[in-house]
């Protein structure tokens, strides 16, 4: 089939309709809602309410902080894992097996996995009882129901995303470039820092943006592992819709969260742009 303007339009119709129906339209509704007065009409009062209340700011800061640490943990654990898979697993079959293993946990419910962490991190959980048993601590640590618990829970769920993202780019790094670096007098560590790592940055960037975005919007894990002691914006938004029945405030909160996240990601990309532009 020739690609004439007409059948191009026909082909694009499906995706465009899908995009409008399930993304653009709901988003427009959300924005409309955020400017809505209870009696109809337009107002900024929802935003004023959200942006002047320290409680909302604290939740937002909490959300961003948790997401930042989740991204860091995923990078610190995921990068070496990806490196190992790509460079130290010689058989393609074994590598494929590892990818499947990485993805398998994603088929389980997040709720189940969050409760798993309650068992592990609780006062009488595995971590505390082991630490007491080997005499490192005397009284159990307060691991559960804290920011740390949420970071652990989210990082655990999002680690495969970072790992696979880094893997996909590391695989494309030309081995002869690493050899060239070694040939020119670089120790293995220097060859990694000067060649392998910079060339794998696109994978790190893609992975960290996805992990960060999913952390910012995560609801289930924080709500289970916070035990009500930590507040994050998605929980707050949920409460606006289900408990306090203020969808207008909920919508304004959503928009603020979205804008702040986009700004942060934009700044991150801007900061890395030069290196990225070169590496891609």
């Amino acid at each position: 089939m020739r690609l004439t303007p007409v059948n191009t339009a026909v082909l694009l119709l499906g995706p465009i309709a899908f995009f409008v129906l399930f993304f653009a339209a709901p988003f427009a509704l959300l924005i409309g809602e955020s400017f809505a007065r209870p009696d109809g009409g337009i107002t900024l009062s929802n935003y004023v309410a959200v942006l002047t209340d320290g409680y909302y700011w604290k939740a937002l800061l909490n959300t961003l902080l948790i997401s930042f640490w989740v991204t860091v943990v995923c990078f610190v654990l995921g990068y070496p894992l990806a490196y190992f898979i790509v460079f130290h697993v010689p058989s393609a079959g074994v590598r494929r097996g590892i990818y499947v293993l990485l993805v398998t946990p994603l088929f389980t419910s997040n709720i189940v996995r969050a409760f798993g962490w309650i068992v592990i991190l609780g006062r009488r959980g595995m971590v505390n009882s082991s630490l007491i048993a080997i005499g490192l601590i005397e009284a159990p640590l307060d691991l559960l129901y804290s920011k740390t618990a949420i970071v652990i829970g989210l990082a655990y769920i999002l680690l495969p995303v970072m790992t696979l993202s880094v893997c996909s780019v590391l695989q494309t790094v030309d081995r002869s470039l690493i050899e060239a670096a070694r040939d020119l007098g670089a120790r293995p560590s220097r060859a990694f820092l000067a060649v392998t790592f910079p060339l794998s940055l696109p994978g790190v960037v893609a992975g960290s943006i996805i992990v960060f975005a999913l952390s910012v919007s995560a609801y289930v894990i924080p709500s289970i592992l916070s035990g009500g002691r930590e507040m994050v914006t998605p929980i707050l938004i949920f409460q606006q819709y289900t408990a306090t029945f203020r969808p207008d405030i909920g919508a304004a909160l959503s928009v603020v969260l979205l804008v702040v996240t986009l700004l942060l990601i934009g700044a991150y990309l801007f900061f890395l742009e030069r290196r990225l532009r070169v590496a891609v």
Binding site: D174, E179, A180, A279
Partner: protein, 354 residues
């Protein structure tokens, strides 16, 4: 006597059941331009990579300037490689690529800058120093790769089919340029190629490799004139290889029915024996000289190749022989199917075993 800068000593490399190098020994003299020549899979690249330190030999040793390289990592060997696909760092400009080696040596900043500048000037790329590899043409990338290697002043420069990715015209030009660089630098070059013309054009000595072994080592002309085996004769230049029968006392005649030829086979190899004669040495028609060997033949086909005719003839027994007898009007006039004589000076041909 120039000292040997590289000594390869009975090097063996096996990958499981596959033998890539079957006990290779090779001495490379200082300042020499040596080519490793052979088809793909003959072990030439494995040998080069073993010298660079990327392949750990199963047994045997490599010594560079008398020092054993066993267990010495690539970054500590006094050699540099020009890689097949150049392997330029895509995230660094040309000048950063070239400065990579000198920076690793911990030289002073001024010294690094001076060396990098000199190396880029050597390959004529000063004007493009600030460009990224993807902003350079294939030939320019090739030059950056060269500059990046020679800037470190290695004892041996290893070149892994560096001209393979270039088009024919550029390849010819780079051949001359490589030769000029070699003369200017006085550096030892070890060059891997599967292109016999390239090896003949550039190298002082050629090591012809086959199935993990060096089958002949010598100057280009010497190998061309006196190939040690049929394989070498076939690989270097064009050759007619006429299957021969060996008689009781080493007498030779053309298979399957003669006639007898005035040559002697002295080997004790009962395998296939061939008479090798270059098409350029084969004359067609005209008078047969006293010191010449002549055979009856009929013309099967002829092609005008520009400066001369290329003739394909059939001998009495059915074997074919190609002739390129320089420019001659008679050769051009010869009609297909016509009977004639092929002849060559007796010492222009060789009797070779497999």
């Amino acid at each position: 006597m120039t000292p040997d800068v590289v000594v390869v000593d009975r090097l063996i490399k096996r990958y499981g059941a596959v033998t890539a190098l079957a006990g290779v020994s090779l001495d490379i003299r200082k300042g020499e331009f040596i080519a490793l020549l052979g088809p793909s899979g003959c072990g030439k690249t494995t040998l080069l990579r073993a010298i660079a330190g990327f392949v750990e030999p199963t047994s045997g040793d490599i010594r560079i300037n008398g020092r054993s390289m066993t267990g010495v990592p690539p970054n500590q060997r006094p050699v540099n490689t020009v890689f097949q696909q150049y392997a330029l760092f895509p995230h660094m400009t040309a000048i950063e690529n070239v400065a990579f080696g000198p920076r690793r040596q911990g030289l002073a900043g001024g010294e690094i800058a001076a060396r990098v500048k000199a190396a880029l000037a050597m390959v004529g790329l000063e004007a493009l120093a600030g460009r990224y590899p993807r902003e350079l043409s294939g030939g320019q990338q090739q030059r950056v790769a060269l500059a990046r290697a020679i800037v470190n002043q290695p004892d041996v420069l290893l070149l892994d089919e560096p001209l393979g990715a270039l088009d024919l015209k550029l390849r010819k030009r780079m051949q001359l340029e490589l030769k000029r660089l070699h003369q200017q630098l006085g550096m030892t070059f070890l060059f891997v190629t599967h292109d016999q013309e390239e090896a003949l054009a550039m190298a002082d000595r050629i090591a012809v490799m086959r199935e993990g072994s060096i089958v002949q080592l010598g100057g280009g002309e010497d190998i061309y004139r006196n190939p040690a085996t049929r394989y070498v004769a076939d690989f270097i230049g064009e050759a007619n290889l006429l299957a021969c029968r060996v008689g009781a006392r080493g007498t030779i005649d053309v298979a399957p029915e003669g006639p007898a030829l005035p040559y002697q086979f002295n080997g004790n190899d009962a395998g296939e024996v061939s008479l090798m004669v270059r098409p350029q040495d084969v004359l067609v028609g005209g008078t047969v000289g006293a010191d010449e060997v002549a055979l009856a033949a009929t013309l099967k086909d002829k092609v005008f190749v520009g400066s001369t005719w290329r003739l394909f003839l059939a001998l009495a027994g059915g074997q074919e022989i190609a002739a390129e007898p320089g420019y001659s009007i008679e050769a051009g006039r010869l009609a297909i199917g016509e009977a004639t004589t092929v002849h060559w000076r007796r010492d222009a041909a060789r009797i070779l075993a497999d």
